[in-house]
Amino acid sequence: MIKINNLSKTIKRKKILNNINVELKGITGILGPNGAGKTTLMKIIASVEKADNDTEIIYKNKNKKEIKIGFLPQNFYVYPNLTVIHVLKLLSTLKETYDENHLENLLIQLNLTEYRNEKMKNLSGGTLQRVGIAQALLNKPDYLIIDEPTTGLDINECIRLRSILLDISREIDIIISSHIPEDITSICNHLIVIEQGKKIFEGGLERFIEKSIGATYETTIYKSEIVSLNGIGSILKIEQLPGDKVKVRIATQTFLSDSSFKKVKPDFLSGYVGLLKGER
């Protein structure tokens, strides 16, 4: 369990994070728009950055007093001229956790065996992220902290990475930050939403979706009419249909009596948009 009390972070007199109190347990997702303070929060939890003085972070485990943390930063890219195996050996030696068997197991678990002698600069984004996860697991951590893992990856790499994280989450608790809802819904059971440095939600996924109950609609319109929907609510999803038409899903606080709008079951995105628009 990681318990955070009064977490604040000020950079150049600007409050990046403001009085955050959360308890991180299980598989926690930290969601928020760009610039909300997710990366700063992740770095502070991973002890890469320091928070303001009055912040208290308690790292505790059921069995041990202290917990071990593995951290994968956003845009992981180190030592372009070294091979995968050399990077992992170097980082584990620096961390004083070098264990040949564990390293080999990680290469197998993360499908990196074929890339072991490949230079970092020659790897694709998805493979780099898997190397990043491997380095985060070098010290056999209790918690894995991952910042924006799927940014810049193509769909196949995203899916592959999510399934790997899901597999890892059976043994290790994961804290994952993202602005991509699918990253969160695919593995997390606990959710924290931050906006402009403040926590605006903490709870389970079901409670999160409830934030938008009764306010999600679907309608089929011509492409040229999409702009007019902005005045009614927030567009959640646009699906292309044959011809000039599109199916649009919107979230709104207004009751829409028009029969062309069909009320649908709210989903994760409805809750997210609802929260960010202030429907709390």
Binding site: A46, V48, P73, L82, H86
Partner: protein, 204 residues
């Protein structure tokens, strides 16, 4: 710690090869008596081996100082940077000692120990100062350019520019001995220790 250096040197292979080449060249210059004056070969040694170690250190710690992953990598290096630096210095000085001993053998008037002590102080001062400047400006090419400019100015004026600190021994007439290099040696050690303290406090 040696394992760390072994792996990191793989990414600096060009620089390491250049270093070996210069060591060999130095040895050949001494053994084949290319220069008549011991001070000329000593000056050549200063002007090659001192900046080379500085550049080597800048490249070795480049990942920790000037990349996007610096803050992340810092968590791995915490409390180890100065140890890695001292290990490198020790390894680098071993062949330098051989060169100094050889110079003492081939040029009888030259004091090997004084030459080694002075080179050690210069290499220590130059590298720690390079690292401090690099940490502050976080730009490798600017840092290297600044120090190349300093060395060029020192060579051009033969250590006579009043506005510069003179870490090199550029007298071609008076042989290297403790009496001739003592003031430079002591000053280099003092300034070097100050730079090392700053480097250690920033990166450790």
């Amino acid at each position: 710690m040696l394992d760390i250096l072994k792996i990191k040197s793989k990414s600096l292979s060009l620089l390491v090869k250049l270093l070996v080449l210069i060591y060999v060249l130095e040895l050949l210059l001494i053994v084949f008596n290319v220069f008549d004056n011991a001070n000329t070969i000593f000056l050549f040694t200063q002007l090659t081996l001192v900046p080379l170690f500085g550049i080597l250190m800048l490249c070795l710690f480049y990942d920790l100082i000037a990349t996007n992953s610096s803050t992340f990598l810092y968590t791995f290096y915490r409390g180890k940077t100065h140890k890695i630096y001292l290990l490198c210095l020790g390894l680098y000085m071993a062949p330098v000692l051989i060169i100094c001993v050889l110079m003492g053998i081939y040029f009888e008037n030259l004091n090997s120990l004084a030459a080694f002590a002075l080179l050690l102080s210069q290499i220590f001062l130059f590298s720690t100062f390079c690292l401090v400047v690099f940490t502050i400006i976080s730009d490798l090419s600017i840092t290297i350019s600044l120090f190349i400019l300093y060395i060029s100015a020192e060579v051009a004026t033969f250590g006579d520019n009043n506005y510069l600190y003179h870490m090199f021994y550029m007298d071609l007439h008076q042989m290297v001995s403790f009496s001739t290099v003592s003031s430079t040696l002591v000053l280099n050690i003092i300034v070097g220790l100050l730079s090392y303290k700053v480097f250690k406090s920033i990166l450790s």
